[in-house]
């Protein structure tokens, strides 16, 4: 079956196509060349419409223990957003911690075709995959989380050579079926178990004597040397702490040129100036990002309203628990592996701090020059639910809308920002970079995020509309692997995406100390820890897509 999409305006930054009118041909789930005989089975007239690859959310908490704790904890949040079943779709719930099924449907309805869970605890990876397996339509993948796991810290305390650490990282990525590596409050989650309440970049874990800086260095080196395309995904120290911008600047400096992705940078860009001892560090952070080409960031924009924060960073989540709204929260220590904290939160536009957070996020978006190195996220659901992306896109693309919003916020916060003077408006092309081409490149998805021949036919088609929120809320068509899954913003077919993974090679000798470690200290056997490929295929709906490693990987 050959499908022709005729006459659309293509925004395909991977091929430098900025608003180029071109036909697209799709066969067997892939984008193909025009047939030599010109014969097509189906043609859709998309003249005048905006065509982009399916959008990719490179940081969204859609599966795994902490998200599911959030779901179970918040019946009151679901009750206002229950979703009825239809002939085609399962029932579920939306808003802050939506059900997996609803998550898949909603993403697809907004033209997203992939989402990546950024905090997969290795010990909890099986659950993360189960949940992602139940997330329809979109592709998914996870970043395995290390850095507070005792095995790594033991290796580091024992001064293990980098080769061994690379092996361990590769082993973890392989057996948790991950596509990248994440570190959360490096070593801090572990330190919290020893009753340390903060851990700055150069502060030592009282038991291991290891610092966050050491951990970042070791892990980013491992990722680079293994050739894993996605740079180390870093949720830095001191999340949410006023003055943490210095730690962040220090972290950028300390990356020493190694690729590093700093996630939800907004939460790490705070100064201590002003009467409230809380100020924007966005300008300095953006300047550092602009200067250091090895650094990529996603923003973690906050938007006002009720949401829930879910993080592996239980040290910081515990510190934030007095702000829980409603007043309930969970913190867990997990399996000598990591931890998690789930704290519901309501961002209020009349709160100085929240209003400034909103501004800091937008300042960062507008002051980082290179759209290939900054990504559109709300750190769903931490800053806001992902369903607010069209609104966020409008804030980026429409200065007057942005300034109208700004003028309604806490007055003192308005005085503390120069956001109103930032004239930049993102173009459609830049949005396509940020949410498609750049994201695919960052995650390491060879065949996604672009519309070149051979790419998977994940295609989103919009009617151009000056109101970008309306435009990005409701695409005309969304194709997933060549199948029409959404029409006029509604799901018309349910498919099940693939799971993207990397499989870096490792030396099997790493299993010797691991086996001993599991047997001696763990309550689970090493063999049962590993997630098999069959588990990803599961009941037959799932599939595994192994993404290529970057050339130059050491092993």
């Amino acid at each position: 079956m050959l499908l022709k999409l005729t006459g659309g305006r293509i925004f395909d930054p991977a091929h430098d196509m900025n608003n180029v009118v071109r036909d697209i041909y799709v066969r067997d789930g892939r984008i193909v060349d025009a047939p030599s005989d010109g014969k097509v089975d189906q043609e859709i007239d998309v003249r005048g419409k905006v065509i982009m690859a399916g959008a990719i959310d490179m940081h969204t908490h859609i599966g795994g223990g902490k998200v599911n704790i959030a779901r179970t904890m918040l019946p009151e949040d679901h009750a206002e957003a229950v979703v009825e079943r239809t002939e085609l779709l399962r029932s579920g719930c939306g808003h802050a911690a939506p059900s997996t099924l609803t998550t898949g449907y909603r993403y697809a309805e907004m033209g997203y075709t992939a989402g990546f869970e950024p905090a997969v605890l290795p010990i909890n990876a099986r659950q993360a995959h189960m949940e992602m397996h139940d997330t329809p339509i979109i592709d998914k993948g996870g970043y395995a989380m290390l850095g507070s796991d005792d095995f790594l810290l033991r290796m580091m305390a024992a001064n293990a050579d980098q080769e061994a650490i690379n092996n361990y990282v590769a082993w973890i990525l392989t057996h948790t079926q991950a596509v990248g590596l994440k570190v959360v409050n490096p070593g801090g989650i572990n330190a919290f178990k020893f009753n340390q309440r903060k851990l700055d970049l150069d502060e030592k874990n009282i038991y291991y004597g290891v610092t966050p800086r050491d951990i970042l260095h070791r892990l980013s080196t491992a990722v680079t040397e293994l050739g894993v395309p996605h740079p180390l995904h870093v949720h830095g120290c001191n999340l949410g702490v006023p003055g943490n911008m210095n730690t962040t600047l220090d972290t950028i400096q300390g990356a020493e040129g190694l690729p590093m992705h700093l996630t939800h940078i907004q939460f790490h860009s705070y100064g201590t100036e002003g009467d409230f001892k809380f100020s924007s560090g966005a300008a300095q952070i953006a300047e550092a990002i602009n200067k250091h080409k090895n650094i990529t960031v996603d923003v973690g924009q906050i938007l006002f309203g009720q949401t829930v924060t879910a993080s592996g960073d239980n040290m910081r989540q515990f510190a934030g628990s007095p702000h829980a709204h409603p007043n309930k929260w969970v913190c867990m220590d997990i399996e000598c592996d990591a931890g998690c904290g789930v704290v519901p939160f309501k961002y209020k536009d009349q709160s100085f701090v929240n209003a400034l957070q909103w501004m800091i996020g937008l300042e960062t978006f507008l002051m980082v020059d290179d759209p290939w190195r900054i990504f559109l996220t709300t750190d769903h659901p931490n800053g806001a639910p992902f369903t607010s992306y069209p609104h966020l896109i409008k804030l980026l693309m429409d200065k007057s809308f942005r300034n109208d919003m700004l003028s309604t916020l806490h007055p003192e916060a308005q005085n503390a920002t120069h956001l109103a003077s930032l004239d930049r408006e993102y173009s459609l092309y830049e949005i396509a970079i940020m949410t498609r081409a750049g994201a695919a490149k960052l995650v390491g998805l060879a065949d996604r995020g672009h519309l070149g021949v051979g790419a998977a036919a994940d295609i989103t088609i919009y009617t151009d509309n000056a109101d970008r929120e309306v435009m990005f809320s409701k695409p005309d068509y969304v194709f997933k692997d060549g199948q029409l899954v959404v029409k006029n913003g509604e799901v018309v077919k349910v498919t099940w995406g693939t799971t993207h993974v990397v499989k870096p090679e490792y030396d099997a000798s790493i299993e010797k100390p691991l086996q001993e470690y599991f047997d001696k200290y763990h309550t689970m056997k090493m063999g049962n820890f590993k997630i098999s490929n069959d588990e990803i295929a599961d009941d037959g709906r799932g599939s595994l897509t192994i993404q290529p490693l970057r050339q130059g990987g050491k092993l």
Binding site: M73, L74, P75, E76, A79, P326, N327
Partner: protein
Amino acid sequence: MSALTFKLIFERAQRVDCSPLTKDKLEGKTVAEIAALPLVAGRQPVTAGDVFEISGDDCRHIVFENSSDKLDFIGHGMSDGEITIHGAAGAYLGQFMTGGQITVNGSSDIYTGCEMKGGQIKINGNAGDFVGAARPGYKNGMTGGTIIISGNTGARTGDHMRRGMILIEGDAGDYCGSRMVSGTIAVLGGVGRHLGYAMKRGTLLLNQAPAQGISANFNDCGSHTLAFLPLLFAEFAKLDSGFAKVSPFSRVQRYAGDIGGIGMGEILVRL
């Protein structure tokens, strides 16, 4: 004008959601229109006319006849008017109501007056568990209004209650006043175990000392004459309740707790 009357045609197996049957939602509708309204009763679609024989035309006074404890959500969110129920009422009677009056000539099931904000519920019978409480996950139980129960209540009366009054002429079940945030629960009869468990603030006013005594998670603050009690009794005197007939007292033994929590709640026992 005669009361708009819903006579249950036969006792149904499944629970019926009666939330559409309030003055706020029925005003201006004819009996035929009302009969055609869809109701949820189990998974099969039914209409109000399938469930009830409907008569009358004054939706300011709604009457349920032949009522059963499977008729849930009666008076849901009502803002004014009057509902009289002959027979039992189901769960969530008067949930979210902000005004008006509900009278049950029979007993009510769990969550009577769940998260109600105003108005009055009078049960001429017994009420189930969680009178005036909050649904799981929600933080505030009733935040206003008065619930009067001529008989007994089940467990967890006033769980998470924030404001308003619950008056129990009979006995209160276990965990009366649990997790109470504020408000007043008064009991003429006996009380069950774990009185005021995890209560934060609020008043449990007892006409008689609990048979099992006061538990160790409350501290005795001594005997006192409290100036607010006469005001409270003056308020009781206005009600259609056994409480109107109690001779007012202001001399009480005061216990504070639950000391495991913030400990600002009080049990006042008549002396």
